[in-house]
């Protein structure tokens, strides 16, 4: 019977994870960690789910929690860390994006030192991969990461945090599982973890393919990773793939970008940050997650209508 800590429990994925763990007979106790007062959605789960308000970005908050009597009573043996599964407006995160990296580093270090935590499941994003030219490219877990110093700040933070967790894949007692999720679609049709969908400008002549996955499937994958004794890196994606134009903001604007190096050199125009994801598609292959974790998407994403009348539905597969 597992005792699980879940960080950022108030995030859309965090909610799903708590619900999934609540119904999981192999989980004895769930302690959700969040920065806000106890969210009301936890009320029905009080028999098994507890909540602790804590600002993980602050070292002393984490230290006091880890050395408290509460923590000793809970004795968690697993941790699910969801730092980036929040809505894209990261301005709301105190300390901004870098604090999410530092809290990840701190949590990993403390988990290694505490020794009571055996399993660490970290939710990353497929946008850590280096995009290569093409409308849609299948990427496996072996694809290199995009160490582009000029990239989007959020993507750089993802890569940093991913590397922090990768550092514990081998050589420590911690069983680390990194799940790199495609664009997460919530029940209300919002997107998480997707830089290409976060802004309205799109370069003309490019329409990259984006893999999507339901937040429920992501929660399932996290729970599967928690129980499977298979540390490693796994891609998580649903069955559907859509071009950016189908998913992006309905009032998206096209910006002229001829994509010809000579022309851009001629006008001395440096590519805008994050532009690679606006041009080139990343479609993660979830084959390894299927084989090792038994992950199979149970929800499919449907896009209906166009423009302002567009509707995105999450439908359970038969």
């Amino acid at each position: 019977m597992r005792r699980v800590l879940v960080t950022h429990v108030e995030s859309p994925v965090g909610r799903r994870v708590v619900k999934a763990l609540f119904h999981d007979p192999e989980v004895a106790l769930v302690v959700g960690l969040g920065t806000r007062p106890e969210p009301s959605f936890l009320l029905p789960y009080r028999g098994k789910v507890a909540y602790q308000r804590i600002d993980l970005a602050k070292s002393r908050h984490l230290q006091s929690f880890l050395h408290s009597e509460r923590f000793a009573r809970v004795r968690p043996d697993s941790l699910i860390h969801l730092p980036f599964a929040v809505e894209h407006s990261l301005e709301r995160v105190p300390g901004g994006v870098p604090s999410l990296v530092s809290e990840t580093r701190r949590l990993v270090e403390e988990s290694v030192e505490q020794r009571c935590i055996e399993r660490f499941v970290y939710l990353s994003s497929v946008f850590v991969y280096d995009p290569v030219p093409g409308n849609g490219n299948v990427v496996s877990e072996g694809q290199g990461l995009g160490f582009d110093g000029e990239g989007d700040a959020l993507v750089r933070a993802w890569i940093d945090a991913d590397l922090v967790c990768q550092g514990e894949l081998h050589g420590s007692n911690l069983k680390m599982t990194i799940l790199r999720a495609a664009t997460i679609v919530t029940e209300t049709g919002e997107y998480l973890n997707s830089p290409p969908l976060s802004h309205v400008d799109a370069p003309l002549g490019y329409d990259p393919m984006l893999a999507v996955v339901s937040d429920r499937d992501v929660a399932r994958a996290l729970v599967l990773a928690l129980h499977a004794d298979r540390p490693g890196v796994y891609n998580i994606a649903g069955r559907e793939v859509f071009p950016r134009s189908q998913l992006g903001p309905s009032a998206s604007r096209s910006t002229l970008s001829l994509g010809l190096a000579w022309l851009e050199r001629l006008v001395r125009r440096a590519p805008a940050p994050g532009q690679a994801f606006d041009r080139y598609g990343l479609v993660p292959s979830a084959r390894l997650a299927h084989e090792a974790l038994g992950f199979e998407p149970q929800y499919r994403i449907e896009v209906r209508g166009q423009g302002a009348a567009r509707r995105i539905d999450t439908v359970r597969c038969r």
Binding site: A28, L29, V31, P37, E38, S40, L43, R46, G47, A50, Y51, Q52, R53, R70, R73, V74, V132, P133, G134, N135, G136, N137, V138, V139, S140, Q143, P203, L204, G205, Y206, D207, M209, A211, R239, E240, V241, F242, P243, S257, L258, G259, L260, A261, W262, R265, R279, Y280, G281, V283, S285, R287, E302, V303, R304, G305, A309, R310, R311
Partner: protein, 363 residues
């Protein structure tokens, strides 16, 4: 763990869910109260003496909101291009196309961006080129597997890749059963605006190992030009002389145990003979090569259009190296080069036979 233990964890655990420190009511309570207010709102009484009102009619909210169309529905509301495609394609060809798109399982796009709708339009256009511009003659379709995956290795020529499109159309319209041919495209093409999207929508893929592996696992036909860019930039004097092969296609064939089918294409090297390649201009413009042909750059971009030459496509007997060599051979570069060379020689023989036959016919 008992519930008592949970309660000792802190004030937020197991405490009264309806109590909140700041005096405001929790959301659930507020919601409940609001709904109660709505329900309990007093109804205004009818004053005495007033006539009883007729039963209230439902407010006129206009016509019901129509169900939003799905992708399938949208396909039926065809545009001008779709209607044109419908006029060009016969019912048998439409059936073949439907068979090709079966692996998508109703999805609007596959992993690489293939769209059935765009493919239908493109097939209608390229069918006209196949029949009336290039007047393609093809032979040897029986070697194409009915279901399994395979690598088609072909010679490359012409400035624009019409040889790839003709092989793809041949696979769709002439093979029995129809097979979707997925061409591996140079990565440079993936950087070009509009071109990269078009290629993806009609089923072409960018040159990466992951892409090829994914398609072979899905039992698809993958067309590779092992000569690479050297094939299209070779000068007219070297027409139909195959350039050295890259080796990746042999490695993937061994890894996935799929046959390599040699494909000879005659005609592509005549569609736009390259007189000179100007590397300095190519470097300046960021292009892989800069060809000078009899019509380009004399007539601008229109000069790149292919001449109406006859095409011949021939499929040869498959190479099954995985039966001849042990799996460790993939690690041996000499063995892999030997296998690639065998394929190259076979394609060269097939091309030579057809070129000689053409010359004899002309003579």
């Amino acid at each position: 763990m008992k519930r008592d233990d949970l309660q000792t964890l802190g004030p937020s655990l197991g405490s009264d869910p309806f109590a909140q420190g700041d005096g405001t009511l929790p959301y659930l309570i507020r919601l409940r109260e609001r709904s109660m207010r709505i329900v309990a709102e007093p109804v205004a009484r009818r004053p005495r003496g007033e006539p009883r009102e007729e039963a209230l009619e439902a407010p006129d909210l206009g016509p019901p909101v129509p169900e939003l169309p799905s992708y399938d529905d949208r396909d039926e509301s065809a545009g001008a291009l779709d209607r044109l495609a419908g006029l060009t394609l016969t019912s048998e060809e439409e059936e073949r196309l439907a068979q090709l798109m079966q692996p998508l399982g109703g999805r609007p796009y596959d992993e690489f961006g293939l769209s059935p709708r765009v493919t239908r339009r493109a097939l209608a256009f390229f069918k006209l080129l196949y029949r009336y511009w290039f007047r393609v003659e093809s032979s040897g379709h029986s070697v194409l597997p009915e279901k399994g995956g395979a690598i088609l290795a072909a010679n490359h020529g012409g400035v624009l890749p019409f040889d790839a499109s003709m092989i793809a159309v041949d696979g769709a319209l002439a093979a029995q059963p129809p097979r979707l041919v997925r061409t591996v495209v140079d990565r440079w093409a993936g950087t070009l605006p509009f071109v990269n999207v078009f290629y993806a929508r009609v089923g072409q893929i960018m040159g990466s190992r992951d892409n090829v592996r994914e398609l072979l696992r899905a039992n698809q036909l993958v067309l590779i030009f092992p000569e690479g860019m050297a094939g299209v930039r070779k000068r007219a004097a070297e027409r139909y002389v195959l350039q050295p092969f890259h080796l990746g296609f042999v490695e993937e064939s061994l890894r996935h145990r799929v046959p390599i089918i040699p494909v000879a294409v005659v005609g592509a090297d005549d569609q736009a003979p390259v007189l000179w390649d100007v590397p300095a201009l190519a470097k300046l413009l960021g292009l892989p090569f800069f060809p000078i042909t009899p019509t380009f750059p004399l007539f601008g971009l229109a000069g790149l259009l292919p001449y109406p030459v006859r095409y011949e496509i021939a499929y040869g007997e498959p190479f099954r190296f995985y039966d001849e060599f042990p799996p460790e051979a993939i690690e041996d570069p000499h063995a892999v080069r030997y296998m690639a060379e065998r394929v190259r020689r076979r394609i060269q023989e097939m091309v030579d036979q057809r070129v000689l036959a053409r010359r004899a016919k002309r003579a």
